[in-house]
Symmetry: C2
Subunit: 393 residues, 2 copies
């Protein structure tokens, strides 16, 4: 085939989609210990439960599940989901839309709200997939300063005044990639600023149920008065990412725009997948399942933190109370990108933190995932990383 | 909740999403005979086959199916799909991407190619969902003239020269809503014009297998030399729309951009849904299943055409050889929008053709679906429509 130069849209000018692609190819090599992904542990994936439920719902209601569904969602799921989210967030949820994974929630929210050049305030570092999403909507991404507990409210307010942003994108609980959790008083303040300055807050909270220590915190959404906070939820971490079921909840006008966008995005989320999650909720299977996931992940997280405490004192790291990730900062002069080939040669993979940084930089940072490795792999892999870092001090 | 005025994106300025919403609410009324939707017949939905396959693939490979998958698709499905599409189109398919229904194929192709203000040439009338998609990408939609066999090549070339379009969107086989099928010589000519003038052709071909008369025609894609034709395929009409599995096939550079767009749109199409379609292909279940669907739909189409031949001579209609729709033109002075309440009062629903027209107008047209009604419903419903139209001549 001759080389052809296609006239691609300008929204791709800043997006290559390849940032961590090569790393994920490497992970697939046999014998690799991977701290790189954000995958649930295979133990946490309830394949037998899904199999039984899929069989039962297809027997009971197969024709309806295989037919076109409403963009607004599979009606029994919309009903159970509304109740579930109400119990999760302890606040009124006036409108909710099931979506094809919470990544689609962000895509639809950007489709609803973002014109090219609009400013979105973001945590820095933040979730790579949604940074790419916002860049494809040609948003102007402006980082807000954080401390060990997440976003700094003073800097947030100053940047709102300075940039008149359309949106703030935040992962307040066990943030990806930092593992940080925003305290309740800052959550309340964010909701107040959103209402005062008329800024949409995209509250992305997929890790909320993966808490291994401390107590649950109120959602930013629970402090919202007028509807400026939009809550993005997911069943990827507590049932299965492969099923692609999430939701977006918020003001009816915002959810309505997301729904119209979804009509011509994928018409509706697959009915079978919605029906499976619906049964997890209706049969009250989630509390026990989440407890069992958290027991395993909590043990791994504490062990990885213990192993990090054996690293040279110049290495700093976050102390998450849940989620999937720990964020480590090496001494300033070290470059995690350049150390990666040494680690991979010894069969250990991680993601250099610079990939999560909106404007690059921060080459001395690393994101470490603990959920998808065994205790033995954490022991071996962290010893290898410790050695590589110590050798390069 | 107080009324709030949210700063929605300008891409929604021309899109309300509500055009045929009210009609579809009406269809749900008990006792309604609906010629309005484009739904498969419940008889055509293989719920028991899907149930057995879902159970088997989850037993054999449940952990992998519930885990995150690659944006590029579930590897066994990509393999079987490539072979399947090759056999369908009799041409080399250098790259293919499984998507969440072929509606997503169009969304990703527009994401890859269309900047605001770019011109897209379209058939008029055309598929409502994708018209909305193109409008949300703020494209300038320019209709191309058709005759009884579809797009007129002379008008197409003249409009290419006049408007320098980025894309042509066409449904060449059993078009929605007109039921028209483009002859082979025009298909070849479209591929040649696309290569000559460097225009992307979005060849949307979801009805291809639903042929009840005549012989299969080569895809526009099969005449493509350089890769300007992108083929959008679907399993919605031959397995199940509720599963949301389709594909986009074409030049590797174009498919790569669609893949990067998909990374931040829904990460990947649900693995279970891809695995189910994969097994339909691998077990060679489609030929028999399609034959059985076509037998039933063909009988319904012929009966609806016979009933239309009993209408007053002033009513003209298309004579499709397959698909799901017949398009009828009432006398110029009649308005299908205004007749609809009379039909609904007598428990018959259809979609006024104006909703499928890019710039409105054509109020004397009607789209009729035959697949989702029984023979008895077609008899009763068409007699009622005949009477209403005769009374309003």
């Amino acid at each position: 085939m001759d080389p052809v130069s296609f006239p691609f849209a300008h929204r791709f000018d800043q997006v290559s989609g390849s940032a961590i692609r090569e790393i994920f190819k490497v992970i697939a090599q046999p014998g690799m210990i991977s701290f790189a992904g954000g995958n649930p542990s295979p133990d946490a994936l309830p394949d037998q439960m899904v199999r039984e439920i899929a069989s039962e719902v297809l027997l009971a209601n197969g024709k309806q599940l295989l037919q076109y569904g409403a963009t607004e969602g599979y009606p029994p799921f919309v009903e159970s989901l509304k109740q579930y989210v109400y119990e999760q967030l302890h606040c009124d949820i006036p409108a909710i839309l099931p979506v094809t994974g919470s990544t689609q929630a962000m895509d639809l929210l950007c489709k609803a709200m973002i014109d090219p050049g609009d400013t979105i305030l973001v945590e820095n570092p933040s979730f790579l997939g949604n940074i790419q999403c916002m860049k494809l909507y040609q948003a102007n991404l402006v980082p807000v300063e954080s401390d060990d507990s997440g976003l700094l409210i003073d800097d947030l307010e100053q940047k709102i005044i300075q940039y008149h942003p359309k949106m703030l994108y935040t992962i307040p609980t066990f943030q990806n990639p930092s593992g940080k959790t925003l305290p309740a008083d800052r959550r309340k303040k964010i909701a107040e600023l959103a209402n005062q300055y008329h800024v949409i807050v995209a509250e992305d909270d997929p890790y909320r149920d993966l808490r291994y220590e401390g107590s649950s915190l109120p959602a930013i959404k629970s402090f919202d008065r007028e509807g400026w906070v939009v809550f993005l939820g997911s069943f990827s971490k507590i049932i299965s990412p492969g099923l692609r079921v999430g939701y977006v909840a918020g003001h009816p006008d915002v959810i309505r725009k997301c729904t119209v966008g979804k009509q011509s995005t994928d018409v509706h989320t697959a009915n079978l997948n919605q029906a499976v999650v619906d049964q997890f909720i209706r049969r009250n299977l989630l509390p026990d399942h989440i407890r069992s996931i958290c027991a395993g992940y909590g043990e791994k997280m504490r062990f990885m933190l213990k192993k990090l405490s054996e690293f040279p004192g110049e290495v700093h790291f976050t102390h998450p109370e849940g989620g999937l990730f720990i964020w480590a900062e090496l001494p300033e002069h070290m470059n995690a990108l350049k150390l990666l080939p040494q680690a991979i040669e010894k069969k250990v993979a991680y993601v250099p933190g610079t990939h999560f940084c909106v404007n690059g930089g921060h080459e001395n940072t690393i994101r470490l995932n603990f959920s998808n490795s065994s205790m033995e792999q954490i022991e071996t892999g962290m010893d290898i990383l410790n050695q590589i870092i110590s050798n390069n001090l």
